[in-house]
């Protein structure tokens, strides 16, 4: 077989895969239409404003409702310095024994 | 032998780096005529202008002044496209350094001149294999060229020069890198091609070449000028 034919075949194959992925995308999205309707229902029932993607800090859990970023706001001992605070967990403070524990 | 004039140069001059301090007059006012079927040798020391003259005849570069006629047609002022077309249809080139493309097989190297044409690759391959067969190279056709011996490389370049079935074959110092046996073999191939009716032009200063008795035109050059023309009809 000619080298150009191999190239065209491989390229066509990749384009076919892309078309298949596109079809997958359409089917998947149309399957989710009802899910989004239901989710929208939950959101409006509970009057939610934010996604539960990042539960580490207040501004991350409810970015649209947050105050400005302030120190010691959320996770105990987590000194917030946005955006690092959402990537790096706070250090283990237990050993330092500065955590105030209520019995 | 027919007496049709296949190549004619009229006051052809080539100046490199014109009007600069390093100006070189490579070819100076050369007027020659070559008949179809001639076996021509351009003889002269290096720097005498024979290679430049050969490349002008082969439509690789244009003369600074004067004209060159190939098959009666003035080619010295054609646009690049048409020069390339004449070069591709009329000439076969054999270079001193072989100039084969490394990493590519013998057969592909031979096919290369006709790639940018509408020929079917299967047809082109058949043609290349036929030529290689005639040159005794069929056993080497799928070899990468860099693994060939000097003589085999020479025969590959001959095959490449023949792929377009040219009327005229130009060879620049073809025996410079060959020993006596291989040089003799090369010349006998050229002789055979001449007998098939092709016109052969060789630039050389190798006595082995220009002392052959079947050479019927020796053009001796020095300092860009024709010093002597010896016709042996």
């Amino acid at each position: 077989m000619r080298r150009s034919s191999i190239f065209f075949l491989l390229t066509a194959l990749k384009i076919l895969i892309i078309i298949a992925l596109f079809v997958h995308s359409r089917i998947e999205l149309s399957n989710r239409m009802t899910l989004w309707k239901d989710l929208e229902g939950i959101v409006s029932t509970l009057k939610l404003t934010d996604m539960a993607l990042f539960t580490d800090a207040r501004y991350a859990r409810h970015p649209t409702q947050a105050d400005l970023f302030s120190a010691f706001q959320d996770y105990p001992g987590s000194i917030e310095h946005f955006p690092t605070g959402t990537i790096v967990p706070p250090p283990e403070f237990d050993s330092v024994e500065t955590v105030i524990k209520i019995k | 032998m027919s007496t049709e004039i296949i190549i004619e140069t009229a006051n052809t001059t080539k100046i490199f780096n014109k009007e600069k301090p390093d100006e070189v007059i490579a070819v100076n006012d050369v007027s020659i005529k070559i008949n179809r079927g001639d076996f021509v040798v351009f003889k002269g020391p290096s720097g005498s202008g024979k290679t430049t003259l050969l490349s002008m005849i082969g439509c690789m570069t244009r003369p600074t002044s004067g004209s060159i006629y190939v098959k009666g047609k003035d080619v010295s002022h054609l646009p690049e496209r048409f020069m390339t077309m004449i070069r591709r249809n009329t000439f076969g080139f054999i270079f001193q350094q072989f100039h084969l493309i490394k990493g590519v097989s013998v057969c592909e190297n031979v096919m290369l001149p006709l790639y940018p044409t509408d020929i079917k690759p299967s047809k082109l391959r058949k043609k290349a294999e036929e030529i290689l067969h005639n040159l005794g190279m069929e056993g080497r056709k799928d070899f990468p060229v860099q693994r060939l011996s000097g003589g085999e490389q020479q025969r590959t370049t001959i095959a490449r020069a023949l792929i377009n079935d040219p009327d005229i074959i130009l060879a620049d110092e073809p025996t410079a890198h060959l020993d006596t046996n291989l040089s003799e073999e090369f010349l006998s191939i050229m002789r055979g091609l001449q007998q098939e009716g092709k016109t052969i032009l060789i630039a050389t200063h190798d006595p082995l070449v220009y002392e052959k008795d079947y050479i019927n035109l020796i053009i001796e050059m020095r300092d860009g000028r024709v010093k002597n023309i010896i016709g042996k009809q």
């Binding site: 929208e40 996770y75 | 290679t51 490394k102």
Partner: protein
Amino acid sequence: MGIEKHRNILDYTLLSLLRRKFKNIGIILVFTFVIFIVGSILFLSYSFKREAYLILKGSPEIVVHRMMAGRHELTLLSYMKDIIEIPGVSKVEPRYWGYYYDSMTKANYTILSMGETVMKTSRLLKGRLPEINEKNSAAIGKGVARARFIDIGNVFSLQSADGSQMVFNIVGIFETDSELMTADLIVLSESDFKRLVKMPEGMATDLAIYVYNETEALTVARKIRERFPDSRPILRDEIIRTYDAVFGWRSGLVLTLFIGALAAFIILAWDKATGLSAEEKQEIGILKAIGWETSDILEMKFWEGLVISLTSFLPGIILAYLHVFFFGASLFAPALKGWSVIYPEYRLAPFINFYQVATLMAITVIPYIASTIIPSWKASITEPDIVMRG
């Protein structure tokens, strides 16, 4: 001239590329990787943005906070009767919500009650939501259930503001499909919520405002701000915009991590663009000498650029799609999700933005082809007799 000539030139181009197998495979790998990374980021952030847009359509059109000394304060319920008077406002409801830090699991939960809205059942809720004044019952998100190892029918306790433990029966759990919105929720009845956080009567966390005509939301917000200078109205449009920005900077963050690969690719392309090797120059000379035209050489270089860039771009995009939508962008997860105790489980919706993909193609494939052709331009227009001389 027929098509055969172009295929012949392509044939030779491919043969020529195969000669420098390792170099070219190297370029293709780096190129594919770059497309894969950038493509993944584009797919991911676009999918999040679209999904945020679709789901947050259900949010209240305006949320009104009260501010005191620049901090978020509880809102007075008495604001409500003034706000409902504003033309265009259809409904005003209080929202009760906040955070609960669970020292046992070191997780932050979101606690809320539903106000006065009549409870609806949903496919996404196993069980039910607590009634308005129902005592000691809660519906929780899957993430909370996982963190505390509890299920429907179990009980769990939260520490109230006065230090006492309040026990709750779990009457409902949100299904996995809704985790993107509900993973960390604890939904309580209004009275329980107020008891838990000791919220004074006549107060709410903030107010949800609904308007008849969405295009008037901005006007209504301005009027609320005029009437109550200490209020902070947040529009639903702003909420959705915030999500665009959040996914924007998180994408940028991921991109920064792969800046090395990007730099390597640019250096490679630069290396190609700034010059041909002596070998390549000589090859062009040979091809010209044996009868190739300038345009044939440039066509060969065009094919070379196209073959390399297409052979990289298409698999790169395919891999990016698989990575994001079949494997949940597992490579980026650490940077995207950040750290926390409760991670929602979700499958990304395969939204494709053709404009983005086309742009990505335009800014990678075309410059690559150009960087292949341009340096060979000079070599290909010189007269072929240099090979005779050299």
